[in-house]
Symmetry: C2
Subunit: 235 residues, 2 copies
């Protein structure tokens, strides 16, 4: 336990908080819909893909590999079993390309981490595929800023309770920063911490959630540059 | 740091050490080769699949989803681009079935953990897909025995150094128990710990490695029931 009542730890989400992610999924979905444009309009193909993703979440969890498998499943479906091998090969290649995408950090990510490091325990808390998240963290060059990295399969209040207790002074003295209301903000507040929303222009529909506007531990900032001054206010 | 010089922590591998795993991969490979039997003999199809797995490790890491993607890629290859959609659908279904397989704990797993819990720090150290490993741990009913669970993307000497330092008194006071010489035994010994090999009748060829027979910190036991008496000897 630290001495005072203030904030001692900051958890950062990774995808679409520190670096671009959803944009690569959307670009791939676009290419996927074009590939299958002979079998349905773009919005129809996209809707079928989303259905497959939703249905398969309980098998695959989050990440590129599950997304690739859901694209393949959707291709078999929308072609009524007449999908050419070349299309399957192309989808496999989309997946591999996503797993090789260079990591593009978001504006102010590095300078903000740099400003906060040493003054707070800095944690990376991300969900998705372990292997791919580790690759992205390594490529981002941001790894040195984190006191701990937790890659988890789901982000529930219990997840934040456990992580902020293990690595810091509990959720009551922690803030969680991320673009997803559903995964980053709402469960961190439910665990007793602050939830700071940094909206990203693209957020996956399965991550949508209403903002807890009236909660005293909810904040919204436009970008990460606003985080250090905000922390000065709430701590 | 604990007081004495003895062993204070035991790391357990999961797949094929605490529960069956490789047998499900082999059964699926068998079904996959039968599905494609019109395009090559069993051993040829299997060899092509292994090549794809090896080639894709750097994209997919370990686990069922990557294995499924490699099966699909192999099907496209061996059919020279003439793979029927029904075959793709079948492969997707193989993958989902693997992700739903009931967890079958290996003989003596529970009784051994039960005998050691409370006397040592007990750690689960496993690689593979985060989401699937968490599912298997939950289904195994063995979760309560572990002081910590670490699901990692690779098992190197550095992995063991980090984990045994974080959760216990360092690798010098730890033993690692597992069926894979390459992932469990050899790197744990390289990190300064004991490596205890519990051979499983099936071990994936990419996990093969020569046993460090002459190393004083290497041991081999036939099954987990032999672990508690062995620990009595080396601690």
């Amino acid at each position: 336990m630290a001495a005072g009542p203030g904030i001692t730890a900051i958890g950062f989400d990774a995808d679409d908080t520190l670096w671009q992610n959803e944009t690569f999924f959307r670009m791939t979905e676009q290419r996927f819909a074009e590939l299958l444009s002979g079998h349905g309009e773009h919005h129809v193909i996209s809707a079928r893909l989303l259905e497959a993703e939703r249905r398969n979440l309980r098998y695959y969890g989050y990440g590129v590999k599950g997304f690739t498998l859901s694209m393949i499943e959707t291709a078999v479906e929308v072609t009524r079993g007449e999908v050419p091998s070349s299309v399957i090969a192309e989808i496999l290649s989309f997946g591999r390309q996503m797993l090789e995408n260079p990591v593009e950090t978001l504006p102010h990510a590095r300078e903000t981490l740099d400003a906060l490091a040493g003054r707070y325990r800095i944690l990376l808390i991300t969900k998705g595929d372990l292997f791919d998240q580790e690759r992205k963290l390594a490529q981002s060059g941001l790894g040195e800023y984190f006191n701990a990295v937790e890659i988890v399969s789901e982000k529930t209040p219990g997840t934040y309770e456990r992580i902020f207790t293990r690595h810091a002074d509990g959720p009551g003295r922690a803030v969680m920063v991320g673009n997803s209301l559903k995964s980053d903000v709402v469960p961190a507040i439910a665990a007793g911490g602050y939830g700071i929303h940094v909206p990203h222009e693209l957020t996956w529909i399965l991550e949508h959630e209403e903002a807890p506007e009236d909660n005293p531990r909810f904040r919204r900032i436009e970008d990460l540059a606003q985080l250090p001054p905000l922390l000065g206010q709430i701590t």
